[in-house]
Every structure is written in C-alpha cells, then in structure tokens.
C-alpha cells in the first residue's frame, strides 16, 4: 500500500502525525506534513487510513 500526500493542500493541522507518527512528520519551518516513507507497512495501514479521514485539507490518499 502506498500513501500519497499533497503538500500544497496541507494546512499543518498535525492530525496525520497524531494518527500515524511512523509515517508522517512535519517540516520545521512551517509544520507542513512530510512523508517518512511512501510505502505503508501492513500494521500501519489502519493508522494511515485514519490520518486520511481526519486530514482537514483532504491532502492524504492511499493507493495500491
């Protein structure tokens, strides 16, 4: 499973970091989300799905 993050949509709410800290982090300069990996381990899929659901900017998608 791959995760796709559209950084120009991101509003730095940090919801994805709260949901899946092993997959998402935030840039030091403006808090915009960054991916720590774009390949999601099986045990992280649910957390990343949750991150996508709570992202207020709809900037996160999962793809096969």
């Amino acid at each position: 499973m791959k995760v796709i993050l559209e950084q120009d949509k991101c509003v730095a709410s940090g919801q994805c970091v709260m949901a899946a800290m092993d997959v998402f982090d935030q840039r030091d300069e403006d808090g915009i989300a960054v991916l720590l990996t774009d390949e999601v381990a099986d045990d992280q899929v649910e957390a990343v799905r949750h991150a996508a659901a709570v992202c207020p900017a709809l900037a996160i998608r999962l793809a096969d």
Binding site: V11, A12, S13, D28, D30, G31, H50, A53, A57, L58
Partner: protein, 425 residues
Amino acid sequence: MTDPPITADRPDTFPMDRRTSGCPFDPPPAARALQEDGPVHRVRLADGREPWLVTRYDEGKQVLSSLSVSADAANPGYPSASASGGGGGLSFILMDDPEHARLRRMVTAPFAIKRIEALRPVVQRITDDLIDQLLAGPNPVDLVEAFALPLPSLVICALLGVPYEDHDRFQAHSKTIIRRTTTDDERQEAFRELGAYLASLLRRKTAEPGDDLLTDIAGRVTAGDLTEGEAVQMGILLLIAGHETTANMIALGTLALLEHPDERDRLLDDPEPALVASAVEELLRYLTITHDGRKRVAAEDLDVAGTTIRAGDGVIVATDLANRDPDVYPDPDRLDLTRNPRNHVAFGFGVHQCLGQPLARVELQVVYPTLFRRIPTLARAVALDEIPFKHDGAVYGVYELPVTWCPVDHHTTTSASSTTGGNES
C-alpha cells in the same frame, strides 16, 4: 410556549435556544429536531437573512472541506448572526486561499505536534502554580477567574515569548477584551494597547531573538514577508483565538466532569496517557463550545445531500450537531471518556481548522487530570441552575463557576509534582 406556529415557508430562527433542554451540555432541542428531519435546512437569522444550516456530520465535513465555499466575511452572503466585535484583528481566519494559506503558514511552525509536546512541562508548571494559588486563596472561589482564564493566557505568554515581568500587563489587557461588561470603547482601547505592546515587543525580539513565536514572526517582518501591522494582528489573533476558547473548555469541561462523577473518577488514579487523550477528545466532542456553528458563503453552486446551495448563499455548519450525529457516535448524548472520538469536528474541518488545536489538547490533557488529582474533593459551590451559562456568547461556556473543596484533602505541591513527573508522555 406562546410562539406562533411555524409554517413550512417560514424557517426556524437561528441560533436556537438551548435553555429548553434539560441538560446544559446538550444542543438546543429544536436544532436536534431539524437534524432528525434532514441534513440541510433554511434558517432565519436575527437580521432577516436566511442561510442554510447543515446539521449532520458527513454533510458538515463535505461543506467545510469544499473548494466551492468561502470564509470571506466581507461577502454580502456571509451569514454573520451579529455585528463583529472582534476588534479587526482576525487576520487570516476570514480570508480565502491563497492569501489565507500564505499568512497561516507563517505561524504554523510553533504549533507542530513535536514543538507543542515540548511545551507540556511548561503547561504542567503553570497549571500546578495556579492550583497552588487557588488552594492558598479563598474557598469557595470562581474557577473561571482563578484558573480557567489565567491558564491559557500564561501559556500563550510562554509560547509568544512575553517576558515574565510583562505577564500582568498582558493578562490585564486580555481580561478586559474578554470580560462581558467591557464597553466597546474599553475593548478597542485594550486592543490598541495590546497592539502597541506587541509592536514594541516585536522590535525587541528583532534585537534580541529568543526561542519563541514572536521571534519567528519578527524574523518574517525583517525578511519582508509580513508588515509590522500584519505581525501585530497575528499576535492578537493567536491570543484571542486561544484564550477564551481554551478557558471555556477548561471550566465547562470541569463542570461536565463534576456532573458525571463516574467519568471523572476514571481520571483520578494516575490515568494512562491514552485514556487522558481519549477523555479530552470526548469532552471536545460532547461540549463543542463553538455553538454558533462555522460560517461560510457558497462561492459557486454546490450540491449537499440533494439540495442545491447556490453561489452567494450563506451556509452555517452546526458542528455541535455534527458531533452528536447518532450515525457517527452511537448514544451521542452520553459522555463516555473511553469513546476516543478522534474524528470529531470540534476544531472545525477544512483549511480553516483550528491552528492551535495541538496546544489546546496538551493544555486540556494536563489540566483535567491535574485538577482532579490535586483537588479530589472539588465540587460545585452553587446549584447547577445558578451557574450562568454563556447562552449569548459566540463561544459556549460558563461566565462563572463557583467551586469549593475540603481543605484538608488537597495534595501539596511537592507530592503533586512528584506524581506528575511520571505522568508525562
């Protein structure tokens, strides 16, 4: 009730009256009836305008995240229920992208999860200091005045980098701005003085940088990204946006826990961080203090659950109703601290979702357990129906919360700080 019968072509008035509900924490019964009836309704504001009210969770999130809606309060269709008393410092809250994104991104860095997490010991110290003062003072006391209001103000001072010797001055201005008996003139004057103070502090931060938000903002001014006026407006926005909202959650949340002793007891014995986090999310959901809804105006036609909202129409998303949507939260009127409703919309949704939410979470995660651990006998000092609720406020809460406690039963500072050491996550 002596109201005339409501006919189909006359929409219900908004906001509705919560006082007809038996429970001061529940949304108005008339609003619940609309929610049951359907997700989208016309409502009538005091000024005669008739925007749409969105009452359910899915549709609410759809509207708030739609690129077809605008948050521009200058748009004639914007469904403001009252004239703005905000002092003109609202900065990017009422702007659209790309300008909104440009300004917002200048202040997002300090609210990153890890940086806010690093503030947790500071929040804990401020909380413990205020409880020390509370216990040393009169009993009963108004928890709003003695605890709920100063706490977020002191945390914002720490975040912004307001020097300790200026805290009293800063607190005095923010108190004047929030107090309900303040006249418009006094409020404008307090905004002006706070603005002048922040401008002088920004110049000091340019000369002597610190590790704080005002230093970041001062750097943006030096780099030419922001004017000094914009920088001052941002400082004021961060103060007013984070002060009364957090204070209301502290006081109203404390009251809700006092009214639900079984739930409160879950927080007493050194609760797991995961339970504390869940408790805070549940209190945010259950109380949803932004009870006037989130206001928008359609920039182009959009379809919401089969209803066409036309360009120029005002839209209000009732997030308090969305957070009680039974399709999303079974038994929605029950306060259940183990529910962990992480998808609630108490901070809004879409690009304007609350910037300060990580800070609010850390404050509330520290405050509730610390308060009840250090003062386990904390109780209301008056009957529930004597507590003045903010029915007329833009943000719901209580104006006063008289509390009392059993003086021999409270924990000393020393034992409390040794307990808290192990509690941080």
